[in-house]
């Protein structure tokens, strides 16, 4: 047992205790468990919606991509900011509608807006599909952190199991309440750790930021700018736009939005959260600092860059602090995703199929689903998934397909029919799944287009087909005649 492991172990126990303590004094009704009774004030909503970006993805994935890819990692800084700017106009109407209709989830929103329970089921299914890589990402990060920070004394597999068990226990007992307080602790911890590392490592190893970037530029020319092909500027543009649009489409993001007490909160946060994003810069700096100091980490190993450099630089107790911060960044989003996935399956898939079930049965089912989902994610995590950023981009490609239907539903006169919405989502998701599975690029499918088009993010191209399909089918089903079902494909 070394000092690092001790610190990480204590932090995990602390997170568990905090998660369990949070449910005291609250009767865990359905509304409390899923959206904390819509009673959270500005600070907690800030942390919940901001916490989305401070996950193990940014901590390890952001630095890992800076290390392995260079400039393409900058997209992470851009998309969240743009999403928050849009949130000023996007979130208040969603929140108002959800409050008036007492909605608990995103599929709920769809089924009510489009007056179609089946659309709700479809959206719930898309949500679960998109959440899967996201949860795997958190568990995978957890495995990396604990095994490296424990200097190899705990295997990644054991770490994943322990982490999954911790999250499962406190989510089952405290639901969304358990998540909120841990989110506060996590953000404070990660803020201090990342800023410190991002300043210390470049200064310690290179004498400053400018010196570090000049050294990298000299060693790897072209690494710090977008490439002429592949991950080019076009890739950056399409990826930023795709992920910015998808940002608030995540079911757990919807849930975080619904926890707010007031709509004012979103408008104020729209100015504050983009600045909060800038902390990500320091994660990039860590990754860049590692390039010349721990060379040779290729493929998924790049995700280990920040931690490897830390182990090489600091005493075990401080590696423990870094590891503890890392564990929190995996546990908190992991538990939010678990709450969301369980809510989706019980409330939005099971309930429409079996409307006779009571609230308490649904609530019980939700809790029962938590360990099952966690087990499934552990299974996928142990089966060699790709790098953290690749996982997230896959999730985003799926979830952004919901954006056109949400946007249209907020317009005074919705141009989209329920069949149009369903057709668009199905087309978008199928295209993403097909391209991800077969690894066929758009350049292969559409050879008559200029070669540069191949750089466009897959999810973005699918989004365009999604909109086209939605508009065509909406046109065909405009007066909503009885025979419209045949036109829904």
């Amino acid at each position: 047992m070394n000092a690092a492991l001790l610190v990480i172990g204590l932090a995990t126990l602390g997170a568990l205790a905090l998660g369990l303590a949070a449910h005291r004094g609250v009767r865990m009704t359905l509304e409390q468990w899923t959206v904390a009774g819509r009673g959270f004030g500005g600070l907690l909503v800030f942390l919940l919606t901001a916490g989305e970006i401070y996950t193990t993805f940014t901590f390890l994935g952001g630095s890992g991509w800076a290390y392995g890819r260079g400039a393409p990692t900058f997209y992470i800084l851009a998309y969240g900011s743009l999403a928050y700017f849009m949130s000023y106009w996007l979130l208040p109407p969603i929140w108002r509608y959800a409050k008036r209709e007492r909605l608990l989830s995103q599929p709920h929103f769809f089924s009510r807006k489009y007056d179609s329970p089946w659309l709700g089921v479809l959206v719930a299914a898309v949500g679960v599909v998109a959440l899967a890589p996201y949860l795997v990402l958190q568990f995978q990060g957890l495995g990396i952190i604990v095994s490296i920070a424990s200097y190899g004394s705990i295997s990644p597999t054991a770490a994943i199991w322990i982490g999954a068990a911790t999250v499962t226990i406190y989510v089952m007992i405290s639901g969304m309440h358990g998540v909120a307080w841990n989110a506060a602790v996590k953000d404070a911890l990660i803020l201090v750790v990342v800023v410190f590392l991002g300043v210390y490592l470049p200064v310690h190893y290179y004498g400053g930021f400018g010196e570090m970037f000049r050294a990298i530029d000299a060693a790897k020319p072209g690494f710090l700018v977008f490439k002429p092909t592949g991950q080019s500027v076009l890739w950056f543009q399409s990826t930023v736009l795709l992920t910015a649009l998808g940002f608030f489409m995540w079911p757990q993001m919807f849930s975080a939005v619904l926890t707010s007490k007031r709509e004012q909160t979103f408008r104020r946060n729209a100015a504050l959260l983009p600045l909060y994003q800038l902390i990500l810069l320091f994660a990039f700096f860590c990754g860049f600092a590692a390039i010349l100091k721990v060379p040779g980490l290729t493929g998924t190993l790049a995700d280990q860059a920040l931690l490897r450099l830390s182990v090489q630089t600091f005493d075990p107790w401080f590696v423990g602090v870094i590891g503890a911060a890392g564990v929190m960044t995996a546990l908190v989003p992991g538990s939010i995703i678990l709450v969301s996935a369980a809510t989706l399956l019980a409330n939005d898939v099971l309930r429409p199929l079996r409307p006779e079930l009571s609230d308490s049965t649904i609530a019980l089912t939700m809790r029962g689903l938590v360990p099952l989902i966690a087990l499934l994610a552990v299974y996928f995590t142990l089966n060699n998934p790709p790098t953290l950023v690749a996982l997230l981009l896959m999730g985003y490609a799926f979830i952004t397909q919901l954006f056109p239907a949400v946007l249209c539903s907020l317009l005074p006169r919705n141009p989209m029919t329920k069949y149009g919405a369903a057709a668009g989502i199905v087309v978008g998701v199928v295209v993403v799944a097909f391209v991800t599975e077969t690894k066929i690029g758009f350049a292969d499918m559409l050879p008559f287009l200029p070669a540069r088009v191949g750089d466009v993010n897959v999810g973005f191209a699918a989004l365009i087909l999604n909109v086209v399909a939605a508009m065509l089918v909406s046109q065909a089903t405009r007066p909503a005649p009885v025979a419209a079902t045949s036109a829904s494909r």
């Binding site: 400039a71 900058f74 800084l77 851009a78 900011s81 743009l82 928050y84 700017f85 000023y88 108002r96 400053g208 930021f209 400018g210 010196e211 570090m212 970037f213 000049r214 530029d217 710090l224 700018v225 977008f226 500027v233 950056f236 543009q237 930023v240 736009l241 007031r262 709509e263 004012q264 408008r267 104020r268 729209a270 100015a271 504050l272 983009p274 600045l275 994003q277 800038l278 810069l281 990039f284």
Partner: protein
């Protein structure tokens, strides 16, 4: 001052379009490669624009919103 909201188009243009013209390492700005500093700059400008929109948007000071909805 509802027209203030168009200020928020600036960071979108700067990041989504402008990056194509800022894709270079030199000159370093605050020690960062130029393209990174460019993106960071637009995030800061955007946040400032957003703060301006927030303070000038009547919906944030009036107890009732423009549609007569309450903000409780």
């Amino acid at each position: 001052m509802r027209s203030a909201r168009w200020l928020v188009a600036l960071p979108f243009l700067g990041i989504l379009v402008g990056t194509a013209f800022a894709n270079q390492v030199e000159p370093l700005v605050l020690g960062m490669p130029f393209v990174l500093a460019w993106i960071v700059g637009w995030v800061v400008v955007g946040a400032a624009a957003m703060a301006f929109v927030y303070t000038t948007d009547p919906i944030n000071s009036a107890p009732k919103g423009e549609d007569g909805r309450d903000c409780s």
